[in-house]
Structures are given as structure tokens and as C-alpha cells.
Amino acid sequence: MLEAVSLECMRGDRRLFADVGFSLAPGELLHVRGRNGSGKSSLLRMLCGLVLPESGEIKWNGLNIRRSDEYKHSLTYLGHLNGIKEELSGVENLRINCGLAGSDVGESAALDALARIGLAGREHLPVKVLSQGQRRRVMLARLLVASTPLWILDEPLAALDTDAIGLMRSLFEFHLENGGMLILTTHQELDIAAKTTHEIRFSS
């Protein structure tokens, strides 16, 4: 259970948002909407613990996320940057990124995930020869092998084609059905079936 209480965010001397609060139970989806620069990414980074709130508190199972050791084990965050290395191959990137997050993924599981996301045959190529959309998929492949309950995704569908978007949607729904939690921002309209869908809309 993730809970946010009256969060406030300042960037320089500009107030991006104030008094943002919600609570998210297993199986629930939070969709954050708003224009670029309205504070969506800052909210997501704040929920991960990368940005300190100016005021307010974020709690994971009743404990402030700063003090919860369990939180980092429960969270998968994918930002708008891909977090992959051009010099490494898809498999290497996937296995290393999972390893950094604390979960060891075997070679065969990694190959399988890459194949499922549509990179069959390209698993061993250095990422620098792949297209933008394919690089994005290398990053998103982490979700196929992740076992964390909370996903925080910043524009996960950017640069993806319709096939991949469909795949991601069914993946999100599968995650939610199994009691996962999902927080995401998207540009495009996306219907995800969920027990409850919360929405935060940033104006300005």
C-alpha cells in the first residue's frame, strides 16, 4: 500500500505542485496526466525517493519510504531515460539492470523476455545499432522479469509502435490482476482494465 499525503514540490523558486495526495492499494492504477513541465516527472521521482518533498510525506505500508528498507526491494522505476548502455548487447543490458535492482536473471530467462517483447534475433547485438523503439523495449523487458509489486513508469510507451503498446497494456493488466500496483504517465489515451483507476491531473 502506497500512500502520499499533501506533497509539495518546489523547483528553484517555482512551486510545481502542492497538496497532492492519494493512496494506492494492490491491484490499483494511478494515472498521472498533464502537459510537459507540469510536474509529472517530478512527482514520479518524488514517489521513488529521488526528490525530497518540500512538505508532506510518502509512506509504504505505513512507514516513511526514507526509513523503509523494504521499499527499494518492492519498487521498479523506469524513467524517461532508457538507462541502457550503447556498448552492451540487449541481454547484457537486461541482466545487468536486473542485477543492479537486486534480482539475478539467468541468461535463458533474459533471452526469453527479449524475444517476447519483439527483439528475437537482436538479443546479442550491441544496443547502439538498434532503433529508438527497440532500445526502449530493451529497457521495458525488465518488467517482464520483474517480481516487484510497485511499478512507477514515466512515459513507458514513448517511441513504441502499436504492437508493442498492445503488449505493454496486457502486461500492465496482468500485473494489476496479480495484485501489483502501477503508477504511470502517458501522452496517449490508454485503457487499462484495473480494479480502481485513480487519476491525478496537473493543470498549468
Binding site: L50, L81, K85, N97, G99, L100, D104
Partner: protein, 221 residues
């Protein structure tokens, strides 16, 4: 595998795929050192006296220049954020990254230095002391430099700024490092200098990863 092992493996793999980075630092060092005789003249006595200092200052500058690579790439592609979120102490990750950075960009200098010392007419004994002092001193440079590198992440003019922050902090290492070779040459024995360098290394190993981790958190917020 533990998370730190993954960091080590990843950074070593990347260093091997980017061999040119290793070579640029090394050649910078070689060129720097070779410029001094051209600047002050080829008088053997003078070169012999200057040698240790020149090699050490060149190692300092080479180390400082390579700092840009320590975190910048990971910062640029978002991997650093992932490292902040991973369930392992950030200080330990910083230590692992710094260790690989040292192996990739400083260890080659340490190995090359005795060869360059020959150009300055240093004796066999002095070459040993020089290599040993660099071996003990350059890790301190990388460790202290990690703080400067993380504080200046993403700033305009970060490269010049990092030199302003880091070079004054390098001074004790320079003094004891170059001093070790001098002390050996004057017959005083380099033991004192080398043990002080060792003490600095222990101090740096204990204190700097935490400071650099704090700096990374500040810079990424």
C-alpha cells in the same frame, strides 16, 4: 551475484568495450611528461631533480581529466538514478565504481611511470619508489575526485569547476608522493612518506565513498 558484483562486472565490461578512453588518459600522461624537458631544457641534473615532481603533477592532471568519465555517462543515460534506487548502500556502489575507474584509468599510468622516469634519468631505486608511491597515491586521487565529480554532475563548465574543487585537495598526496622519491634520493629513506600515503589511502577509503554518495544524492535531486 550481489549488486556490488554486478556493478564491478558492468563497469569492467564497459571499460573493455571503450579501450580508447583508457588510451587517451595514458597518452595525455605521456605527452604531458614529455613536454617538460622541451620546456626547461635537457640538462640531466635538472631533469633528475624535477623528474618525480613532474611525473606526479602529470598523474594528478591525468587523474583529474579522467574524472569526467566516472559518473557522467551513467548520469546522462539514467543508470545513476537506478543505482540510487537499488537496495544496496550507495557508498558501496560508489566505491566499486571508483575501484574500476582506478583500474581503467590510473593503473596504466602507474605501470607507465617507471618507463617515463627513465627519460628523466631516475635511478632503479627511485623508479621503484616512484611506482610504489603512485600505486598508493593514485587511488586517493580517484576517491577524492569522486566527490568533486559527483558534485559537478550536469553543471555547465563542470570540467573546469571540478579542477578548482579537487586540485587543492590533491596537494597532500602530491607532497608525500613526490616527496617519497626525493627522500629516497637524498638517502633519508622513503618509508615515512610511503606510510603517510598509506594512511591517506585508508582515510580516503573510509570517508570519501560516503561523501561522494551524499554528493550524488544532492546532484540528482
Amino acid at each position: 551475484m550481489t549488486i556490488v558484483m554486478w556493478v564491478l562486472k558492468r563497469d569492467l565490461l564497459l571499460a573493455m568495450r571503450r579501450k580508447s578512453d583508457v588510451l587517451t588518459t595514458l597518452f595525455f600522461f605521456v605527452i604531458m611528461v614529455s613536454l617538460f624537458p622541451l620546456g626547461v631544457g635537457p640538462e640531466p641534473q635538472l631533469l633528475k631533480a624535477m623528474g618525480p615532481g613532474v611525473l606526479w603533477v602529470a598523474a594528478l592532471l591525468a587523474s583529474m581529466l579522467s574524472l569526467g568519465r566516472l559518473f557522467a555517462a551513467d548520469h546522462g543515460d539514467g543508470t545513476l538514478e537506478q543505482m540510487l534506487l537499488c537496495p544496496e548502500s550507495l557508498a558501496l556502489i560508489v566505491l566499486a565504481k571508483t575501484a574500476v575507474h582506478w583500474i581503467a584509468s590510473e593503473l596504466p599510468l602507474v605501470l607507465m611511470a617507471p618507463l617515463l622516469g627513465l627519460q628523466f634519468g631516475l635511478s632503479g631505486d627511485a623508479l621503484w619508489v616512484l611506482a610504489l608511491s603512485l600505486l598508493l597515491g593514485t587511488p586517493v586521487l580517484s576517491l577524492v575526485g569522486a566527490i568533486g565529480a559527483s558534485l559537478t554532475l550536469g553543471l555547465r563548465g563542470g570540467g573546469v569547476l571540478v579542477s578548482l574543487l579537487v586540485l587543492p585537495l590533491y596537494i597532500p598526496v602530491l607532497i608525500f608522493g613526490a616527496g617519497a622519491v626525493d627522500a629516497n634520493a637524498s638517502g633519508l629513506g622513503a618509508g615515512g612518506h610511503l606510510s603517510l600515503l598509506g594512511a591517506l589511502l585508508v582515510l580516503a577509503l573510509l570517508a570519501t565513498p560516503k561523501a561522494a554518495a551524499a554528493a550524488l544524492r544532492i546532484s540528482l535531486e
